[in-house]
């Protein structure tokens, strides 16, 4: 079973590496969205420092949603998804593998990039470290919860907008605790509680989401 999981992860990573542009575009989108904000609200450093956590986190949510399109769509189009379902391995396991690969290609690099963005927003060392930690703990739930939406909208017209409508409200707790952790750290309070809740959300999502995704995929593929 672990072998099947690793095979799915390896295959998805390999496919992504063969089409590096798609992966890079999502990261570029993340950086560009964050860059637009100071241009819109003005270059006042105190204000930028104040809004940085929320801006980076909202950009991370949008990037996660933008990248959901390719999570199942290609496998659905060429029939790989049906093969995975017929393979005799638990579907939730394969789903977990695909989500792990998705996180390695979006959540992980976004977390790494956030260090640079924290510098651009003139954040102090401690809040920057908290930002990285919060993204590290929170982005897995973005991939997990988002995958439910991606599975539900598989093959529908206008799936891109629809998945945003379905998934963004479910991202609210992640956003609140993610940005809240950085705010707490910037305010001199320990961000421990926020980070633990973020980790807890990710673990709960990892436990529950694969079943919902499996059910949704069975509905979508038939």
């Amino acid at each position: 079973m672990i072998g099947a999981l690793l095979a799915v992860v390896r295959r998805d990573l390999l496919l992504a590496m063969r089409q590096r542009g798609d992966v890079a575009n999502v990261l570029l989108f993340f950086v560009i969205v964050v860059t637009m904000v100071p241009l819109g609200v003005g270059p006042d450093r105190d204000m930028l420092r104040l809004i940085a956590p929320g801006v980076v986190w909202v950009a991370a949510l949008l990037s996660a949603i933008l990248s959901l399109g390719r999570l199942f769509a290609l496998d659905y189009a060429d029939g790989t998804l049906e093969q995975i379902m017929l393979s005799g391995q638990p579907l939730s396991l394969a789903v977990l593998g695909k989500i792990a690969a998705h996180w390695l290609m979006t959540g992980a690099p976004i977390t790494a990039l956030s260090v640079v963005l924290a510098m651009m927003f003139d954040m102090a060392a401690a809040p920057s470290a908290t930002l990285v930690a919060s993204l590290l703990l929170g982005t897995p739930s973005l991939s997990l919860i988002g995958a439910v939406g991606a599975a539900l909208t598989l093959g529908l017209r206008g799936a891109g907008v629809l998945v945003t409508l379905l998934v963004l409200p479910l991202y609210v707790p992640v956003l609140i605790f993610g940005a809240g952790a950085v705010d707490a750290s910037a305010g001199g309070v320990s961000p421990g509680a926020h980070l633990m809740l973020l980790g807890g959300l990710s673990l709960a999502a990892a436990a529950l989401a694969p079943w919902a995704i499996g059910a949704a995929l069975r509905v979508s593929v038939e």
């Binding site: 439910v148 539900l152 529908l156 379905l166 409200p169 479910l170 609210v172 707490a184 949704a216 509905v219």
Partner: protein, 252 residues
């Protein structure tokens, strides 16, 4: 379809799960629930406007809670019921359950919208702002988004059976998330806003105020049942348009 999998209930109520029976029963019940809603709403408005005393802190404007609070209660309650029937329909593959869930969604969304709109109208004279990013308001707004997502997903899928099950998965995911969203928003608000907006209310509500609110809640219940039944009848006719009983109904 798969009805043979379900054990007949003791009193034979399950026969109302058969579409023609449901259609007839709903048709007979709608006028009763509808007129009960109208009568109760009239009684509640009378109690609210003429019997309930003026609030010594907020003056007359508080009277909007007679609409606002029942709407907010119904918005939350209907989501739970909708998710229950959507899950029931998925688990037992019963046709009517999913249609029933689908029929409830617009009424739930309407209730959430009413709660928000009346809240804004109350907030302007009381807090000085239509919208205050208060924890409850924000979580009601997100509830409205969840309703809209449910309807949008159902509407985007052409095959009704697939739409039922996809929307059912979404409703169940939503109902698991709802408490988490609710508490996270409450906490977020307490972290950000402090006491700039305080929901101070009179120490104890006058009994007549509670009565008016209670009667209006009953009126909203009756209205929601009547509206959902009417919508379920319409959905049923549309889905079963090729069956002989619908042809018979159509010919009168």
């Amino acid at each position: 379809m798969q009805t043979q999998a379900i054990r007949p209930l003791k009193f034979g109520l399950h026969r109302f799960a058969a579409p023609p029976e449901f259609y007839r029963l709903a048709g007979r019940l709608i006028p009763w629930f509808g007129s009960a809603a109208a009568l109760l709403a009239a009684a509640a408005l009378y109690l609210g406007f003429f019997v309930a005393p003026t609030d010594f802190q907020q003056g007359e404007v508080y009277r909007i809670i007679f609409i606002h609070v029942p709407a907010a209660w119904m918005a939350m309650f209907i989501y739970a019921v909708m998710a229950f029937w959507a899950g029931f329909g998925m688990a037992f593959n019963t046709r009517m359950s999913s249609m029933w869930a689908c029929a409830m969604a617009p009424t739930g969304a309407l209730m959430a919208f009413l709660a928000l709109w009346t809240g804004a109208l109350w907030g302007r004279p009381t807090w000085g702002a239509y919208w205050a990013w208060d924890g409850r308001m924000t979580s009601t707004l997100i509830l409205l988004f969840l309703y809209i997502g449910f309807m949008a997903l159902h509407g985007a899928i052409d095959d009704p059976r697939r739409a039922d099950r996809a929307a059912g998965v979404l409703a169940l995911v939503g109902v698991v998330n709802l408490p988490i969203i609710y508490f996270s928003v409450q906490w977020w608000n307490s972290l950000h806003q402090g006491a700039s907006v305080s929901l101070t209310r009179a120490p104890s509500m006058a009994v007549t105020m509670l009565e008016a609110m209670f009667v209006m809640t009953l009126a909203f219940w009756m209205y929601s049942i009547a509206a959902s039944l009417a919508r379920a009848r319409a959905i049923l006719l549309e889905r079963e348009k090729r069956s002989s009983w619908v042809q018979a109904v159509a010919q009168g």
